[in-house]
């Protein structure tokens, strides 16, 4: 087997996420909402729901609700910040890498699913179920 050097979450660095977790930005639900989607990680049961309204093709309002681990919930907090005021079209191009970079601290591979759940939910809220955010590993 090759030598793997898995990144791991340094607990001290986790503080950055912990702040978002304890004081989430954009928490709540928009009603009515132009677009919304809810999904979870089946392996842990954690959930995120994102709802948003647009104006002239731009994200006008966005909120998230959910329960789960620090990584998934803080990622949702960070992602909703990221896209507020952005063109819907530009959200399509947000890559997994970009999402991870915005979490600031390196995310261990066992927590990738946590870190990327919010992005998947957001993209599905906009482009529907056919958007398959999971299958990068072919």
């Amino acid at each position: 087997m090759e030598e793997n050097k898995p990144l791991d979450i340094d607990p001290l660095m986790m503080e950055f996420l912990l702040d978002h977790y304890k004081h989430p930005h954009n928490y709540g639900e928009l009603e009515p909402a132009e677009m919304s989607y809810e999904d979870g990680n089946p392996s842990c049961g954690d959930q995120i729901k994102i709802s948003l309204n647009t104006k002239n093709g731009i994200v006008d309002e966005i909120k998230f609700k959910g329960k789960g681990c620090i990584v998934s919930q803080s990622a949702a907090s960070i992602l909703t910040d990221m896209v507020k005021g952005k063109k819907i079209e530009d959200i399509k191009t947000i890559s997994r890498e970009e999402m991870l970079e915005n979490l600031i601290i390196p995310i261990g591979p066992m927590r990738l699913k946590c870190a990327l759940l919010a992005l998947k939910v957001l993209k599905r809220a906009i482009w529907g179920k056919q958007f398959d955010g999971d299958d990068e590993d072919e």
Binding site: D8, I9, D10, P11, M14, L18, S43, C44, G45, D46, G68, C69, I70, V71, G108, M110, R111, C114
Partner: protein, 414 residues
């Protein structure tokens, strides 16, 4: 006279047999507490397989050449070693499969097909691992049997009163986990056996978690089926076994079919080989059988009784400590016998976050639903941390777990 308890110095010597225990994680010494998922392997097990591959590797059965003879002998011998280890009457009652899961599927398919019809009932416990639930639910959907579950009481033990009500003349099989992989509870198998026998139901014991820790004699136990996996008892992956009473195996139709399990094949049909080979289609995991036999020898050398005693002491020690840690919510361990296996949560902290934190300090625990969702639902928990100990774990390691849990609590719950 030999001590019935493993001494600290013996444990130290035992630890030297396990190369992985020297591993560093983030410069910290590995503390491996995920033994209920799979155990580590002593050098003798690892080397028995490499040596076999370097010296005697050949496909078994029906060849005249010496390598094949040696491989066949080793393979059949492994059946005998397992048979003896669990007190089976004959090696013909031991069927090698990939793991406990395959053994349970074999029973549901083959026994189910031959002996069950739509008016029959299968009774399980709510503690069962998914592998002893889903095959029965599938069978239910196919042939219309009923599947009923014995619940646990508040104190984490099985509700034997409910069991008495659920088990009726319609019950054709009672399937129970001997030791819970979530709560550590060791169920009262003899009591359950008597319930099954009182209505003439077959009695199936899932020994995946018990056999690594508890002396078992299937003949004394009086079970009809017993299953386990080698990888949970210092043996290799890729091999596990089904024990079943010979008369049952004789009557059950084969499950997987193909080479080695047949006597004769024409374009019109086939007849079957003798036991246990009737159930072992295709080239079996014979290298793994060599490793499994060596694993059992390793355990026998230490003695399962002494392993159990040592782990009991460890369990008491840990339990006392957990009770003093008010930020910990733990499940089970209230009444009756338990393995040194603990499921718990740091209050207010997602177990995956806690597990990440522990991992940073070299401590490997599992977090999740432990393939026992019906039990988790019943207990109304979604996920939990699980620390499961084996005989090579020490008090020191438990101490390190405690102090790191305290750190984690301070960090997450400030």
């Amino acid at each position: 006279m030999e001590q019935l308890q493993l001494s600290q110095s013996e444990i130290e010597k035992i630890r030297e047999d396990f190369p992985i225990l020297n591993r560093k994680i983030n410069d910290k010494q590995l503390i491996y507490l995920d033994n209920a998922a799979t155990t580590q392997k002593p050098l003798s097990v690892i080397e028995s397989m490499s040596e076999f591959l370097k010296k005697s590797n050949a496909n078994i059965h029906r060849a005249i050449h010496i390598l094949s003879y040696e491989a066949t002998l080793a393979y059949e011998n492994a059946h005998k070693i397992v048979a003896k280890f669990i007190g089976a009457k004959s090696f013909r009652e031991i069927v090698f499969v990939r793991n406990a899961t395959e053994a349970l599927n074999l029973i549901a398919h083959s026994f189910g097909e031959r002996f069950l019809t739509s008016s029959d009932e299968v009774v399980l416990t709510i503690m069962e691992h998914h592998s002893n639930i889903v095959p029965w639910l599938i069978l239910r959907d196919k042939i219309g049997i009923k599947v009923k579950f014995i619940k646990t009481k508040e104190d984490g033990t099985l509700d034997y009163d409910e069991a008495e009500k659920l088990i009726t003349k319609r019950t054709k099989l009672l399937g129970v986990i001997q030791a819970s992989n979530v709560l550590g509870t060791v169920n009262n198998i003899l009591r359950l056996r008597d319930l099954a026998k009182s209505v003439n139901a077959k009695f199936l014991v899932d020994g995946a978690q018990s056999l690594p820790h508890i002396p078992i004699n299937v003949s004394d136990l009086g079970c009809d089926f017993f299953v386990a996996s080698a990888h949970k008892m210092v043996g290799p992956t890729g091999i596990g076994f089904l024990y079943a009473k010979r008369e049952l195996l004789e009557e059950m139709p084969p499950f997987l079919t193909g080479g080695d399990m047949i006597r004769e094949v024409t374009v019109d049909g086939a007849t079957w080989n003798e036991l246990p080979f009737k159930f072992e289609a295709g080239t079996p995991a014979f290298t793994e059988a060599v490793g499994f036999a060596e694993a059992i020898k390793y355990l026998q050398n230490i003695k399962i009784e002494r392993i159990l005693n040592y782990e009991k002491t460890l369990e008491k020690y840990i339990l006392e400590k957990l009770k003093t840690m008010s930020f910990i919510e733990f499940y089970g361990h209230q009444k009756g016998e338990h393995l040194a296996l603990f499921s718990f949560n740091i209050k207010g902290v997602h177990p995956h976050d806690a597990a990440s934190f522990l991992n940073s300090f070299g401590i490997a625990v599992r977090s999740g639903n432990h393939c026992a969702q019906p039990l988790m639902n019943h207990l109304k928990i979604e996920n939990a941390l699980r620390a499961s100990f084996y005989f090579y774990n020490t008090n020191n390691e438990a101490e390190k777990l405690f102090s790191t849990l305290e750190e984690a609590n301070k960090f997450f719950n400030r």
